[in-house]
Amino acid sequence: MTSLKNKTIIITGGGRGIGASACKLLADEGANVVITCRTTEEGLSIEKDILSKNRSAKFIPHDVTKEESWQRIIEETLKIFPQIDAVVNNAGSYNYQSILDCSHESFKSLINTSLDGCFLGLKYGTEAIRKHGKGGSIVMMSSVLAKIGATNMSALSAAHGGVKLLAKAGACELGPEKIRVNSIHPGLVDTYTEEDFKKNYPESIDSLKYEKDSIAMIPFERKGSSDEIAEAIRFLVSDESVFMTGAEITIDGGLIAQ
């Protein structure tokens, strides 16, 4: 398929999970994919995977919380590809702790990665898309936690709620120049193995039990897959959604409809 032929798309957190699935799908659709993440081995592995299929990809190391890192991403991308058409702000962190257990440091760290990272992606992404003046698409990875509350998820709710409205603010401000900003709201998604989760989020280990119990609450009786979320990313960066901005796509198997 070629729905994204010649579009250059930056995807943060592209080394694993939803980001990795999105990188592969968008490359399959003909896009030049810029994979960004902090863990070099993961980024390089996705790059290699895509290049082996004769698709276009470049990994660039990236800390989404740092302005200079964003500046570098844009510069490096424009050295390789002619223009930037879309930015997918997918990188985010995780925290599952009660309000009392969650230290202010942990709270701030999550906001820094998940919310500040999206703000910087919106800011530098807009600047990059403006260079060619033809408009583009910025996708924000939020969560159903932007729409409902949940126990032990105060930091995530605050961050994802912020991301949702950041997208709407961006939609209003950037609409006149045809830069679209939309948010995606996954429910539970099968992205981590239990082992990886324990390694990456040791303080949130109780969440594993919570997730297992929660599956029974999902009307579709299963978690979503990262490929299913990637398909919504594809839709939002493609010309199939040119009249959509400030919109939310919830992908949760019916979780929050009840």
Partner: protein, 256 residues
């Protein structure tokens, strides 16, 4: 492309130049087999002919969506012709505005009978005849989630569509049938005084009050309908296709 290859779709309100006709052409181009319905026989047959001329399969059935008898016929005839049903697009709808004090109860009941009863009847009679894994897309409206002066009847009817969508999504989940609502903003069709030969001043007004500075076109809705038919895990959702009008809560007056 073949995202819906040999899947059977029913599309209501496909008898005029608008969302329904464009959706018929779009779903057919992805391989779907179609039943299209609506009240205007001439236009309905024209849509069917357009689909067939592009190499698709399509039957037209005259249909008043507020009639339960009509719905039974549409579903039976679709089963007779294609053997099963995968998708239902409840697109038929009515729009008008009038000051509430000047609106008769008959007027109110009438818009509700098309927009609410029409959607409800479609879901009621289709659900048990649909294949597992299928999808229902209800074309609601941005006005299902916000107010519009003189629009009490329209807004109430579309609010009902969005909310019943979620209930039916929960009921249908066991069979992995997805049920979602779309909230179009201004789609430039005859329903809002637009389409070919529409009022240019009105069009410019809509453009200026939409953050993305354009009016929606039927193809934009068709793309979103295709996306929902072809997805797997989206259900009970409502998705705006409105150029940012909802995000800009003041109906566009602050845009830009």
């Amino acid at each position: 492309m073949n995202r819906l290859k040999n899947k059977v779709a029913i599309i209501t309100g496909a008898t005029s130049v608008g969302i329904g006709r464009e959706t018929a052409l779009k779903l057919s181009s992805e391989g779907a087999l179609l039943t299209i319905t609506g009240r205007n026989e001439e236009e309905g047959q024209k849509t069917a002919d357009m689909v067939i001329n592009e190499g698709g399969k399509c039957i037209y059935i005259k249909h008043d969506v507020s009639s339960e008898e009509n719905w039974k016929e549409v579903i039976q005839e679709t089963i007779n012709v294609y053997g099963s049903i995968d998708y239902l697009v409840n697109n038929a709808g009515q729009f008008w505005i009038k000051p509430i004090a000047e609106t008769s109860l008959e007027d109110f009941k009438q818009i509700c009978s098309v927009n609410i009863d029409g959607t409800w009847l479609g879901m009621k009679h289709c659900l048990n005849r649909m294949n597992d894994g299928g999808a229902i897309v209800n074309v609601s409206s941005l006005m299902g989630q916000m107010g519009l002066p003189q629009g009490a009847g329209y807004c109430a009817s579309k609010g009902a569509v969005t909310s019943m969508t979620k209930s039916v999504a929960l009921e249908a989940a066991k069979r992995k049938i997805r049920v979602n609502a779309l909230h179009p903003g201004v789609i430039w069709t005859t329903m809002v005084g637009g389409g070919e030969g529409g009022d240019e001043n009105l069009k410019n007004f809509f453009i200026q009050e939409t953050p993305i500075r354009m009016v929606g076109l039927p193809e934009h809705m068709a793309d979103a309908i295709l996306f929902l038919c072809a997805s797997n895990y989206i259900t009970g959702a409502d998705i705006n296709v409105d150029g940012g009008r909802f995000a800009d809560g003041s109906m566009g007056s602050h845009a830009g």
